[in-house]
């Protein structure tokens, strides 16, 4: 029997969020253990690869600053291509992190707890990768500050009526709020690491970053309220960011861009690609660090369901664009869409359809939804497809504009490709450093959703219970947890059955 089959929902009963006899200490040990263990050779190799790719990025950007935008394959007709594609691609990836941590938090979806930390980290790194493009595509990077409303010697102000300036505000606010939200979540876990620190340096460094957190309930009360408020602020924020990114296109009069469906369609696409990236990363990270008991198949399955939902929404948007192009009666609009599907970029268009609309439909089948290799492959397809979606929107609309004499075919230059490839280097370097030095799973939040965390659990009414009996139970559980901890892979049939039994006992 496979593990997947064992964790199936029993009707009327929720699947456990933490598997394999874990008590509070075992959760700390598992997660903090990753950070405290010695650096593994695999990690070093991966970091080496990621940093080499990061060097490609630095080289490409150096060349760009030295020689100017001419090194990219842009021309007079297609004046925006891989740069804005890469920007929207990375911003979209970032959205899942905020979604998992904010929207699922507001909806009281407890399953978010073991994946939110890594997803938020992913958000921050994706936004950093995205930020490269707007900063460098201005060409003369040293003038990038012109984008900000700073008093200058020419007494000029940026154009606040331009969506590109709205973008500056949206992206910088998003990056700032994401970092604050992430850091607030990290503080109690940094305190846990501080209290476990073995060396002086470690305890001082962690002591500074954990701000002297000591778990006081008076502090928790304000902390939780703040977390709720930040989640409430991030939810409209994350929707606004991609809405404003879509305004960059929708506010223009370019056929294929000038549509009102863009804001919701871009938001759905962003969630879609972001969740696909979380699935790709989590599948690898849980395997590499033995987090199978915390990031369960159930977690992955839930994310796959969201991928299925948003993928279908994206497919709907593709279809409705055709309807509007026909129904709207604008011949330029109609041409733009026929040209997308059957013009010179039809290869990109149909790659987009197959990756984004057809491949996630396989998630209707539970077998595929819960199969690790299948979901990994599909999530990679979705990431590829979403890059193509942005490419199709941008390049196919531009390359055949209103005047047939200026029609061209865009080919990326070597530096277009190396800059985009390099941005993955930045993303993965930061993500690997995060996995190594910070708790990848939110320790305190996972503890909070365990059945033992309910103050009314274990005994009906806390007055009529001998403490000794309870302590014995605790000691026993902790001994068991230690055992299962030594053998990380041990979460087969027995463990999962027992944990269900435990849960039942604690509820009864």
């Amino acid at each position: 029997m496979t593990t997947a089959a064992l964790q199936e929902d029993t009707p009327g009963k929720r699947a456990p969020l933490v598997l394999g006899h874990r008590d509070f200490n075992a959760v700390t040990e598992t997660v903090a253990g990753i950070v405290e263990k010695k650096t593994t050779p695999t990690w070093l190799v991966l970091l080496g690869v990621a940093m080499s790719v990061l060097l490609i990025l630095l080289g490409s950007l150096g060349k760009l600053v030295a020689d100017g935008l001419g090194i990219w394959g842009l021309n007079n007709t297609v004046f925006w291509a891989w740069d804005i594609t890469g920007f929207v691609f990375w911003i979209g990836i970032g959205h899942a992190g905020t979604l998992i941590s904010a929207i699922l938090f507001l909806f009281r979806q407890k399953w978010r707890t073991s994946i939110n930390r890594a997803a938020e980290a992913m958000t921050i790194f994706a936004v950093m990768s995205a930020a490269i493009y707007p900063v460098f595509h201005v060409g003369r990077v040293w003038f990038a500050y012109w984008l900000f409303p700073i008093p200058n010697q020419m007494s000029m102000w940026p154009n606040f009526k331009s969506p590109l300036l709205w973008d500056v505000f949206a992206i910088s606010t998003y990056a700032t709020v994401s970092i604050l939200f992430w850091y607030v979540g990290l503080v109690p876990d940094l305190a846990t690491l501080r209290d476990r620190a073995k060396t002086k340096v470690r305890s001082i460094v962690l002591g500074i970053f954990s701000l002297g957190w000591r778990g006081s309930h008076k502090n928790w009360l304000n902390y939780e309220k703040t977390y709720l408020i930040l989640a409430g602020l991030s939810t409209p924020l994350v929707l606004s960011v991609h809405t404003i990114v879509s305004f960059d296109f929708a506010v223009s009069i370019m056929p294929g861009w000038h549509t009102t469906i863009f804001p919701p369609y871009f938001v759905a696409g962003a969630i879609f690609s972001g969740f696909a990236m979380v699935v790709s990363l989590m599948v690898l990270a849980r395997k590499a660090y033995g987090l199978e008991g915390l990031i369960t198949i159930k977690h992955l399955e839930n994310m796959n369901k969201i991928i299925l939902l948003t993928g279908t929404m994206v497919g709907y948007a593709y279809a409705i664009e055709y309807f509007i192009a026909w129904y709207g009666g604008n011949e330029y609009e109609r041409f733009a869409f026929i040209n997308r599907a059957f013009g010179p970029y039809k290869w990109a268009y149909w790659t987009m359809w197959s990756c984004n609309v057809f491949s996630p439909q396989l998630f209707w089948f539970k077998r595929i939804r819960t199969s690790i290799p299948a979901m990994f492959v599909i999530s990679i397809f979705v990431n590829i497809g979403m890059w193509f979606e942005r490419f199709v929107i941008i390049v196919t609309s531009l390359h055949r504009d209103f005047i047939p004499s200026s029609w061209t075919y865009f080919r990326p230059s070597l530096f277009d490709i190396s800059t985009f490839l390099g941005s993955f280097g930045l993303f993965f370097t930061l993500f690997l450093l995060f996995l190594r030095f910070l708790p990848a799973v939110a320790i305190s939040e996972v503890k909070g959703v365990m059945p033992q965390a309910d103050p009314h659990a274990g005994h009906g009414g806390h007055d009529d219970h001998g403490h000794d009996a309870h302590d014995d139970h605790h000691e026993e559980a902790s001994a068991k947890a230690d055992e299962s901890n030594e053998d990380e892979g041990d979460e087969g049939e027995e463990a999962s059955n027992d944990s269900e039994k435990d849960e039942e006992e604690s509820r009864g």
Binding site: D23, F24, T28, P149, S155, W157, P158, N159, F160, K161, L165, W166, F169, T173, T176, V177, L180, F181, Y183, V184, P188, T192, D195, R196, I208, L211, G212, W213, R214, G215, S216, H217, K218, W220, L221, N222, Y223, E224, K225, T226, I229, L230, L233, P236, L237, S240, I244, F247, S444, K447, G448, Q452, D454, P455, A457, G458, H459, H462, H467, H470
Partner: protein, 188 residues
């Protein structure tokens, strides 16, 4: 009595007690203990837990958090600054686009929204540390020999010496009755 020992003893005498600390192994026991302490008339006591135990604030009789008010006022400041900024900019350097008025506020809604969120988030972030009196790099409760477990798997309760009902031996007895372990008086 050797010198070092005497010195230690003197130091102990001079140190003011901060309070009594003990811990429990389940959130349920902690909640029960906090209820009992509240009912016994204690005002200055605190719980220290590895994760927020829901409902504990009721058991402890704590007032609700003031955070929403801080965030609301910061958000209002953000909105007003955005209006001020866009108004000033459109008057100081008018850009006429499609014949629209200089201060076409509809186009500035994204700016107003983003700055409201940004200021609220800063208010929430810094306000929370302010209310919690953090960062604080030292706290007497960290002197408890088992303190590291407060961020791991133990549920501490601290009765502070400044509480009018505080009496080292009586309070200790009460905590013992409630089942607290390793009850220690920590000094400031």
């Amino acid at each position: 009595m050797d010198k070092a020992h005497r010195h230690e003893e003197l130091e102990e005498e001079s140190a003011k007690p901060f309070g009594l600390m003990g811990y429990f192994l389940t959130p349920g026991e902690l909640m029960h203990a906090c209820e009992k302490l509240k009912n016994a008339g204690y005002k200055h006591f605190d719980a220290q837990t590895p994760f927020p135990v829901h409902g504990l604030e009721k058991a402890m009789g704590l007032p609700p958090s003031k955070m929403p008010w801080i965030v609301l006022s910061c958000g209002a400041t953000g909105l007003l600054s955005a209006i001020a900024l866009t108004w000033f900019v459109s008057v100081d350097y008018p850009l006429v686009i499609s014949g629209k008025p200089s201060f076409s506020w509809q186009a500035y809604i994204p700016i107003m929204f983003e700055l409201t969120v940004l200021f609220s988030a800063f208010g929430a972030f810094f306000g929370m540390w302010g209310i919690n009196r953090l960062p604080m790099f030292y706290h007497p409760s960290m002197k408890h020999p088992s303190f590291p477990r407060a961020t791991d798997d133990a549920f501490f309760v601290t009765v502070e010496a400044k509480d009018p009902k505080y009496d080292a031996s009586k309070t200790k007895k009460l905590l013992e009755e409630l089942g607290a372990r390793e009850i220690v008086e920590v000094t400031e």
